[in-house]
């Protein structure tokens, strides 16, 4: 597990996302309403770039002919076959216990000289950085 500095907090407005490569793995980092999340950018189904998918809510399981929309901004839908994943846990909506994508921790803190940086910016101890633990 490495601490990778992936950008200044100012580069991650709420609603934005960034795809980074850490140790050969493509990972999507999301700021959703001020909260950070990270998911492996490879759908476990057929290898699609999952983190390019739509961030959305979904229709919750309901009674016949009833539509209940919920969980707004908590779901990402794979851009190929439409599988829905819970962004916070990586679990699929249709089978949360058996089918999921890997998640990573993201923190916002000062960076240190020992941190790995993925960008060419200078890391200082001033200000806050987004750090991916992957």
């Amino acid at each position: 597990m490495e601490r990778c500095v992936i950008g200044r907090i100012s580069e991650f407005a709420p609603g934005s996302r960034k795809i980074v490569t850490v140790g050969g793995r493509s990972i999507g980092v999301f700021n959703i309403r001020g909260q950070f999340y990270a998911l492996r950018n490879r759908c476990p189904h057929q290898g699609a770039p999952l983190c390019l998918g739509r961030v959305k809510g979904t229709t919750l399981s309901s009674k016949p002919y009833e539509y209940v929309y919920g969980r707004d901004q908590e779901i990402i839908q794979c851009p190929w076959h439409g599988w829905e994943f819970e962004i916070a846990t990586g679990r699929t909506y249709f089978n949360p216990h058996r089918m999921r994508v890997k998640t990573y921790e993201v923190t916002v803190e000062s960076a240190g000289a020992d941190d790995v940086t993925l960008e060419t910016f200078e890391v200082t101890t001033e200000g806050e950085f987004v750090i991916l633990h992957a």
Binding site: G47, A48, G82
Partner: protein, 377 residues
């Protein structure tokens, strides 16, 4: 995206090219003058059933070019499909005009088919050597369809004649036989692609009409294909046209063997009603019919597919297809369970290469502008 060492070449039997704009303005110059005002005023105007689709407006979310629809940008198609997976040949099956046999107006439909075929040759097949194309026919008027096959069916780059699963009559019906006659004479497979079930002038999509939801509509595909397959066999098409080949595209594959078990069993006691069916129905299939793979069935245990492949004689009957750039795209690297090398070669290359005679068709695509009979303006 796949970043792998150069893999062995494959053939992709179902790729969708689209027009850049919804109006299909690139098609207009290929239409006769008589239709140009109408098209300007009304659009191309082809019926659809009205179901939703999947993905991002029907396509892979990552397949939208900067401008226009997925499948309309050749560079992106190269990047995401041809180069990414080392596709030696990709067969273009069009998109917007495929349902033209749902139109009430037979002459307009025939004009659209001619215009599309000319457009396909000039805008796609002559611009990228890895592309091959299916020509469209309008089935409303068989003599015009035959004429069209004779007009463009011999041109390099055209590898099959394409219709939709949705139809007015099962395809074995004698109504269509002149089409098979010319397909056989020119060595062109007759291909069916999923779509148009219950649209326009076509029959109902199932024996009980329309389901309410798109997912139901997807499940009528094998029903249609079972109907067409039975019709082709029992109307004696393969006896009458022994060199004809038929391709079933995007209609499922795992249903085949159990269906043929039933058909062979029924035939033993009922063959006397159609005595021209000389062999068990399954034997006609092994010889004459090929299936494309996408969307490949996904059993709980992927290894179960290997059993199905044995039952279905996949080494003869199955050809890989991706359906690029539709949302239900099958990845050549991830859609299949691990296959023995020889079976993989059959499915991903050899069967299609033999069917479409690719090894014999490597001549460069010539300038086709003189072959068009429409009146570009």
């Amino acid at each position: 995206m796949p970043e792998r060492p150069k893999s062995t070449p494959i053939i992709d039997c179902d790729v969708h090219n689209r027009f850049k704009d919804r109006q299909m303005s690139a098609l207009w110059p290929y239409l006769p003058r008589a239709y140009q005002e109408d098209v300007r005023e009304w659009g191309i105007n082809i019926p659809s059933v009205g179901y939703l689709n999947g993905g991002d407006r029907g396509y892979r979310g990552d397949s939208w070019p900067k401008e226009g629809f997925p499948g309309s940008d050749l560079d992106l198609m190269r990047e995401q499909l041809l180069d990414a997976y080392n596709v030696e040949y990709a067969i273009l099956l069009g998109q917007e005009l495929r349902p033209l046999s749902t139109l009430p107006n037979a002459d307009y439909a025939a004009c659209l088919a001619r215009a599309y075929n000319d457009y396909l040759l000039e805008h796609w097949l002559s611009t990228e050597s890895r592309l091959r194309g299916a020509m469209l026919i309008a089935t409303q008027d068989v003599p015009q369809a035959v004429e069209e096959i004779e007009r463009v069916g011999r041109l390099p780059g055209i590898v099959e004649v394409l219709v939709s699963n949705g139809a007015r009559l099962p395809y074995g019906n004698r109504y269509y036989h002149p089409v098979f006659e010319v397909c056989e004479a020119l060595g062109l497979p007759f291909a069916l692609h999923t779509g148009s079930e219950g649209a326009g002038i076509n029959g109902q999509p199932s024996v009980a009409g329309h389901g309410s939801y798109y997912i139901e509509n997807r499940q009528v595909r094998p029903q249609g294909y079972m109907t067409h397959l039975t019709s082709l066999i029992f109307e004696g098409v393969f006896e009458k046209f022994p060199k004809l080949r038929v391709v079933f595209i995007e209609g499922g594959y795992a249903w085949l063997a159990p269906f043929l078990w039933r058909l062979d069993a029924d035939w033993k006691g009922l063959r006397h009603q159609t005595p021209w069916v000389r062999k068990p129905p399954s034997e006609y299939v092994w010889e004459h019919v090929r299936f494309t793979s996408q969307p490949l069935e996904e059993p709980e245990h992927p290894s179960h597919l290997l059993e199905v492949f044995k039952w279905n004689r996949a080494e003869r009957t199955l050809m890989f297809s991706s359906d690029y750039a539709h949302w239900d795209f099958d990845s050549p690297v991830d859609a299949f369970p691990r296959l023995p090398d020889d079976l993989r070669r059959r499915i991903f290359y050899e069967t299609a290469s033999e069917l479409y005679r690719f090894h014999a068709q490597t001549a460069p695509v010539p300038d086709l502008s003189r072959s068009t009979t429409s009146e570009p303006v």
